[in-house]
Amino acid sequence: MPAESHAAAAIHAHQFEDAEQQRDAVTLGMWAFLLTEVLFFGGLFTAYTIYRWSFPAAFALSSHHLDVLLGGVNTVILIGSSLTMALAVHAAQVGGRGVVGYLLLTMLLGSAFLGIKAVEYDHKFAERLIPGASFLMRDESRPAHLDPAGDAVVAAGIASADPGVEADLQHHAQIFFSLYFAMTGMHALHMVVGLGLLAWLVLAARRGRFSPAYSTPVEIVGLYWHFVDIVWIFLFPLLYLIDRHA
């Protein structure tokens, strides 16, 4: 179907009176949905806050086991993808030609994010930092040393000679990593959904569905994408940057 006829027609679903009502409703719907997502992630952030307040040392030590470089690169990538998303939205709104291109670029950056995330998860698996039976967090900054009571040699990598203290540290570190995987995992899941939405938009855009008269789907997917980006912007410092001042 030629793009012009779509640009001219004010299409809307049958339950709406006109295109404007549809646009208003769909936009409000997306904002309302994002509100529920705030509450959803908010629960995880609350759990994080409570446990970080309870176990600051374990959380700091655990955070240092995350790769700041990869996390930082991912942050830049995701912010970049928000930029390309915004450009895609703008292009759709003014009827410019870049919609498909910007959407594809956003997908590329989003996929790169997920790829780097997969690499990070793989590293965690290799380092035995997946919560569960074989979890073991080592403190590489500690060489073998005498324990403060002077009674025994503590092997390298173990934080404390006291088995009780060490066990606690491992437990609390597991809590950190559970939250790490739960939060970044939830976030990644949302990114995957986002990629699906973007793919759908690409297909629709190629068929010429979007125009200045009808760009709502691109706008609301844009809202969703920016939200997912914002969640990461909170996740990154909270998870990766605890006590990282040089």
Binding site: Q15, G29, E37, L39, F40, T46, P131, Q174, A182
Partner: protein, 541 residues
Amino acid sequence: MSDRTPATHYLNVSYGIRSWLFTRDHKRIALLYLASVTLMFLVGGSFAAMVRLELLTPAGDLFQADTYNKIFTLHGIVMVFFFLIPGIPAVLGNFLVPMMIGAKDLAFPRLNLLSWYLFNLGALFTLFNIVIGGVDTGWTFYTPYSTTWTTTNIVPVALGIFVTGFSSILTGLNFIVTIHKMRAPGLTWFRLPLFIWAHYATSVIIMLGTPVLAITIVLLALERVFHLGFFDPALGGDPVLFQHFFWFYSHPAVYIMILPAMGVISEIVTCFSRKRIYGYPFVAASSLAIALLGFLVWGHHMFVSSQSVFAGLVFSVLSFLVAIPSAVKVFNWTATLYKGSISFETPMLYVFGFLGLFTIGGLTGLMLACLGIDVHVHDTYFIVAHFHYIMVGGTVMGYLGGLHFWWPKISGRLYPEGWGRLSALIIFVGFNLTFFPQFILGYLGMPRRYHAYPEEFQVLNVMSTAGASILGVGYLIPLVYLVWCMRDGKVASSNPFGATGLEWQTPAPPPTENFPSPPRVTEEAYAYDKIPIPGGGAYAG
């Protein structure tokens, strides 16, 4: 508006299972929900019958202890998550919200259908869990019992509740957007029926609260599977933190259960006293006040759980405050009857029942907000009685009243009035006999979730079980005649009760698109002074 049944309406516009399973019509989806929710009500009700049967005798001699524990747990889970929370919004709300505001459908019909499928998926997980042995943690899943000690399968149920939570969120989202954006011309906020205000407030609670339940369940499941230590003190976790997370949703959840019923009451009490609602802005605002304050009181479930005295004080005073808007509603409904012209068809009988029972439930709630009393009666049958007065005496009465009131619109048929009144009476009597003795049992000290109990509590328990059997009969009768009358009942006119409201301006049953073009609204809600009183015997069902 022709009073004859239209030739084509939403029920017969298309036939076949696919036209139902893939429908986008909010009215058909409402009926699909009616079927699912009724099935779950029967499942939950069967568990209730088993509980009451066991409690006929002081000894735990009908079921093994573990089995009994699963029975009361599943009664709670099924009734709360699969009947009370979805019930009125998914059945009556779905059917009526678009019609009451003059719209053709909800904002997102496909999301509406998705929410029904999600509900069924969640129900399926739960039913699957029941078949493979059930859960025995109580519907409250307190840790560390649920994370570490129970040997039952928590994960399928957790999944079921998680998925059903999304069903709930989608319904709430649909209602909020629809009410904001799709009102007919002239239908300003303060002309809306109070049913709409009630569902709007309910939807706000759903949107804000349910995601927190979702996360709580995720954390619970993770802890159970991976032994992480969020909530298990043996691993450094905090069991009381679970309680905070759980009740942060589950207290507002009870307002999700009662607010829609309150909306129903406003619609019925006005119609059957032929009067505008007394104090419309106050009733409307009270729904929002309940929604808001309801998020601030969750700690009143934890007065003896080692919460600090200070926290107890804060939650207590807020819990007293949240009762005030409910009281405002009861007073306004009562005042609506003043100088009215009152008739006593079945829906109105349910309203009277609601007003009496909800008042008792609400007043006992004030007793529970009172710290000195709650220490004694917490975790006893006093609590059980209190919440059943609200949820059964309140919500279920509202649900049944609403089903009867709108049945002619939904089905195009009249329910049999004699049977309707009889079952309303049976339910009222059965209900009180079941639950009033439980107040006494609770203050005497009979704890809840007890499989066996001291002998001196038997007489009151027998009374309660006797009441439950009457109550069960009362519920079965409408099940039979509502289904029967869909095919064989008298044909209804489009507005047999002479009610105001846009939904009554359509034929019965309505066409798929509800209104050929959006109606224009110029009146306040409940303008009963402007229309004639239906003639004697107008409702000839």
